[in-house]
């Protein structure tokens, strides 16, 4: 249905452009070139009008048509079966399969009736929608052609339209944020109507799986987020212990010591590291680093879990080195040269200058770089999905298996889902926590950087 509609739309828009431009060109020929706008703008003006009108019709009418088809089809089937949402969906799927010729087995008579109603409603709306769109498009073309006059400010009108299109495109970012908020908040709200937020935020036990079986003791499941937070923080801390020093020292070296030639070699290394997909790092963590750590630990007589927090943390640290180093590099470079020159004039060596003058001056920026890196580590999914465990152990032992917020979101939502169980909904509550945590970190980091920039501007 949509394919035909958009084909008609494309043809009419093109026709509008060609006709409009031709009409304007004709006018110019008659009048000797006294048009306000170039002929092409007249064409574009009408084309834009057609596009707007037909898109508006589609946006309004298509969902209505869909609704009409569904209600007709389900109305033809016995209405008593169509009370339950689940059953309605199943019936609808059967009908659609029957219409498409994919139905397995012999359909019942009611199903056949439903399919017939579905087909007739579909063809009705097909003709209705396409006819309406075509009529509207043609009407707009005739209206526009009638409006074309030498003094028509077609360019200004069209540019006005373009400006709104540009604005709409940049509003997509805002819509995305709103979409994220809506989807996460709505489902999380449903979750919090089943589980109290206090239990969620302060509970020490996380075992959503038990919620599957309603007849069991403790069937409500335990949704205490504390073990997840502790696990996430444990892995993040390990990652920052790796990425902090390594990233900061490479940034210092790159900004203060490295010759342009060395920079030209080292910068790509860090860029390559930043460009490696996390699933690759996860594979490396799970199949190479984790067994290595386990083997080393066992030879030292330590009890190391095969999915230790250490392996995931180490590799994640490697992943965020480029973030730390490139952000720190920027802020170190932003420290005015006069501060360094002053320090050298006092007789300080280069390292003394860096330690006593440059780093203190760059400290706010470095702190914000670390915060951005932490938010990156907290939100990272694949490395921990592949290398960290699933069991929510409340421990700070880096050799034990812990789980993280992102791992749990992934585990809860991959596979079959029921959107009324607390188990599935809890993933959205975790998403909400994750979203606001990273947002807060980023916001603070950005504010720090802004204030710091003002200091030296």
């Amino acid at each position: 249905m949509s394919g035909t509609y958009f084909a008609i739309l494309a043809i009419l828009v093109l026709a509008a452009f060609v006709l409009g431009a031709q009409r304007a060109r004709g006018l110019r020929g008659d009048l000797g070139g006294a048009l306000h706008s170039l002929p092409a703008y007249h064409g574009l003006y009408i084309a834009a009008a057609v596009l707007t009108a037909m898109m508006a019709i589609y946006v309004v009418a298509a969902p209505l048509a869909e609704h009409y088809i569904v209600s007709q089809a389900l109305g033809a089937v016995d209405s008593s079966t169509a009370t339950e949402q689940m059953q309605r969906d199943a019936t609808l799927r059967d009908i659609q399969n029957l219409v498409a010729g994919l139905y397995q087995g012999e359909p019942s008579d009611t199903l056949k009736a439903g399919a017939a109603a579905y087909s007739s409603a579909s063809s009705l709306t097909f003709w209705g929608l396409n006819g309406l769109g075509t009529l509207a498009g043609l009407a707009v073309i005739f209206w526009g052609l009638g409006r074309i006059r030498p003094e028509l400010r077609a360019r200004n009108h069209f540019e006005h339209f373009v400006k709104y299109v540009l604005l709409a495109c940049s509003a997509v970012a805002v819509l995305t944020t709103i979409g994220i908020l809506l989807s996460v908040v709505f489902e999380a709200a449903q979750f919090f109507s089943k589980v109290s937020p206090i239990d969620f935020l302060f509970g020490l036990q996380w075992s959503p799986q038990t919620a599957m079986r309603a007849d069991q003791v403790g069937s409500s499941g335990a949704f205490g987020i504390v073990p997840l937070i502790v696990g996430t923080l444990l892995i993040t801390i390990i990652a920052m212990l790796v990425a902090g020093p390594l990233g900061l020292f490479s940034a210092i070296y790159m900004a203060e010591y490295a010759t342009p030639r060395i920079r030209a070699i080292v910068k790509p290394i860090l860029e390559i590291l930043a460009g490696i997909p996390t699933v690759v790092l996860g594979f490396f963590a799970a199949l190479t680093v984790a067994p290595l750590i386990r083997g080393t630990g066992q030879s030292l007589g330590l009890d190391v879990a095969s999915e230790s927090a250490l392996a995931a943390g180490l590799v994640m640290g490697m992943m965020i080195i480029p973030f730390v180093s490139s952000l720190s590099d920027d802020v170190i470079n932003a420290v005015p040269q006069s501060l360094r020159d002053g320090s050298y004039a006092m007789g300080a060596t280069k390292s003394e200058t860096i330690k006593k003058v440059v780093l203190p001056a760059a400290l706010p920026g470095i702190v914000s770089a670390f915060m951005l890196a932490i938010s990156r580590a907290v939100g990272e999914t694949m490395i921990v999905v592949m290398a960290a465990g699933l069991a929510a152990n409340l421990t700070i032992n880096p050799l034990a298996a812990v789980t993280t917020v992102t791992v749990q979101i992934k585990t809860l939502l991959v596979g079959d889902q029921e959107f009324d169980s607390a188990k599935t909904l809890s993933a959205f509550a975790l998403g909400l926590v994750l979203f606001f945590f990273t947002l807060a970190l980023n916001y603070i980091a950005l504010k720090i950087v802004q204030r710091y920039r003002e200091q030296y501007d």
Partner: protein, 508 residues
Amino acid sequence: MTDTVIAAPRRLGNSDALVARRYRSERRFKFYGIAAIAVTAVFLVLLFADILAKGLPAFMEHRLTLPMKVDQAAIDPQNSKDPKVIRAGDFDGPIRQAFRDLFPDVTSRADRKKLMGLLSSGAADDFRAMVVRDPALIGHDAKVPVLMSDDADQYLKGRQTGVEKFPGIGTMTAAAEGEQFKLTTDAAALPTPGDIVRLNGGAFRVLSIGNGVLLAEQLTAPKSLAPAASGTWDILRFTVPESSRRIDDQEALWLEHLKEQGLAQSNIAWRFFTSGDSREPELAGIRGALMGSILTLLVTLFLCLPIGVAAAIYLEEFAPKNRLTQIIELNINNLAAVPSIVFGLLGLAMFLNFFGLPRSAPLVGGLVLALLVLPTIIIASRAALRAVPPSIKEAALGVGASHQQAIFHHVLPLAMPGIMTGTIIGMAHALGETAPLLMIGMVAFIVDIPGSFTEAATVLPIQIYLWSDLPEIAFQSKTAGAIIVLLAFLFVMNAAAIMLRKRFERRW
């Protein structure tokens, strides 16, 4: 201020030592920087070396070349030459028969089953394709390629165990002693327990050694028990004990036999690129995932390039300095830092549950990834637009162009290389993204190659994730192979971005 302590002036006599210490600390500090970079580089090298070592064997596979007659009765009894009939013919039976004929000694049911286990369950596919392509082969002799099972393949690649072969020096005699055999030799170098002695067409596994006499059990019956002269017998030693590999000694002996006969060869595994996913490691390929990735990225590109560039133009050139603009800018910066899995939640709740778009479809994956990389593209495009000197725009305005004409006719074309660079980098990011696509169900086991934007599909990173979870060693190798392909794509994309930047970079 009363407790200010005035430091005593430092004695000049110490200054040499002090200077030396300060220089030492200077060198140390510089060393830390070099060390940090070196550790990072070493990690990168280790990562690549590990993946190459694991993944390169995935691009090779072992096939048997079985000389056999293409049997008319089994394939096309009515001689119809109809491809449909040929395709439905029995190709498995003849292959199995031909393979069994290579080992006439193997008679027991259990052993035969074990022998057949060396062949892939899809062994007949190549044969079928060959005959369908060339029906003239029916009734003639042909050399038929037969795919080996993943375990056999791994063994032949030397990834199950190392094999050492020692030629027999001296005479070796085998004599039956009850269930077992006694091997006597005058050789100086004796086998150790666990080794396999092959003589007179039979094979014996050494159990124990005492006084130059080897107690052994029979794996394959020898043709005779006559003394074997120097050079006619040999010793096989496996570096990995039988209990910790998936190919036992008997199977290993068969495979060694095939290798020595020159029947098992290593070929390039084009299958890896031409077939979809499979439960059998030797049959699994990445074509489905590659197609899924391409379809998904097409959707992403067609959405986020126009929207991203339009947004960048608006924000850079037309946006009034007001609250709405501020909100949009803040939003873009924040979106760039939202964890990717949260975009997956958006896709699941909005696109799948609310709008009812199909699960696992490249369309939805592309939508989610477009939203994910949109900030990257907007930021890169804005930088590219800003890099075009204002004099260009002013000159256009000066000769009477409207603001939009100046931007679209003059500034945008000059900013295009920068925008394309940013777009390619954004696409590379999208290609490697996994987590949000897991959320929208692109994680299913999909054998068919997806052909449209709404069919169920998976993408390359998710194929990697799925394979990495499987227990078979061969899948580990496939995983690393898929990673190599993914990294190659990323490398090409980034190289293209760098070329573009170098080629069109202008100093104004």
